[in-house]
Amino acid sequence: MIRVAAVGDIHVGADTAGRYRRHVTGLAGHADVLLVAGDLTRHGTVEEGRVAVEELKDAPVPVIAVLGNHDHHSDAQDEIAAMLRDAGIIVLEGDGAIVDCDGVRLGVAGGKGFGGGFPGRSAGEFGERVMKEFVRETRSFSERLRQALTEVNEAGADVTIALTHYSPIKETLAGEPLEIYPFLGSYLMAEAIDEAGADLAVHGHAHLGSEKGVTSAGTRVRNVALPVLGQAYAVYCLEPAATRA
């Protein structure tokens, strides 16, 4: 069994520096890995990126993160990702990684992801250039996600998790206004996850959403945005190869 701690949307800033750190250092004995589902910062500045690194760098377990839309706000996402990597944190951007957790090989594939909406109500690749670019962004990410999940599965991961910032399903958005669903996620990511196969999909971004949902093909989805959890992180226990068909 592997214990996966997960949280998103910690949104650190100079005003909260040092506050999240104690939860991270306290993970020893409670979890085997920490997944961070994006929006580590408020405005995506390098200074805030530095705060995020300080909060996460002394984790007693491997830390795997994706960035969120807030981490892109100041156009410093590459620098933030590099700083996190320098501190030993794995940052996924449409790729995957396998970490050894006490003998269990955990495969995680993911990235920020993007919006577009959900079946029957989703944006199409049509019309103005910016509209097509919007949809293409999600489409190309979802294709990379599918490939990365397939790769970690083929590499023999015992447990596979998809980690994104945006949501692959709408169930975990329940509580958010319907009007903004297309900006909160896209079913294209769920389709990729279902097609490649994963034991769990973890995302953040929807602060007013709900924790638990499931994709159309039965992959469990968890929204781990800190305001949704109402606690420092969630812990999910998974049996190796237990849920994948």
Partner: protein, 86 residues
């Protein structure tokens, strides 16, 4: 000509924009009822709760602001709160 700040729908969006720009909180719900502005949502600290209120007041054109935003707890889960997925 209409003063858009007197139209609740426009006022709501002016306040939401100000809260996003100045307090950098995107998830705050703003409602105007009977001339009164209600703020709801969840933020990470009491300082940010205050920032949201300040930004809202600055855009509220004198309408009273009722701050119902709550601060997220970040207590640690205990063993019984772990979820087993099988």
């Amino acid at each position: 000509m209409t003063r858009t700040e007197d139209v609740p729908h426009y006022l709501v969006e002016h306040i939401r924009a100000r809260v996003a720009e100045e307090a950098h909180e995107l998830g705050v719900q703003v409602d105007v009822r009977e001339g009164k502005v209600y703020l709801r949502g969840r933020v990470m600290s009491s300082e940010r709760r205050r920032d949201v209120e300040e930004a809202a007041r600055a855009a509220a054109h004198g309408h009273p602001v009722c701050n119902e935003v709550s601060v997220v707890s970040s207590r640690e889960p205990d063993e019984g709160e772990q979820e087993r997925l099988s």
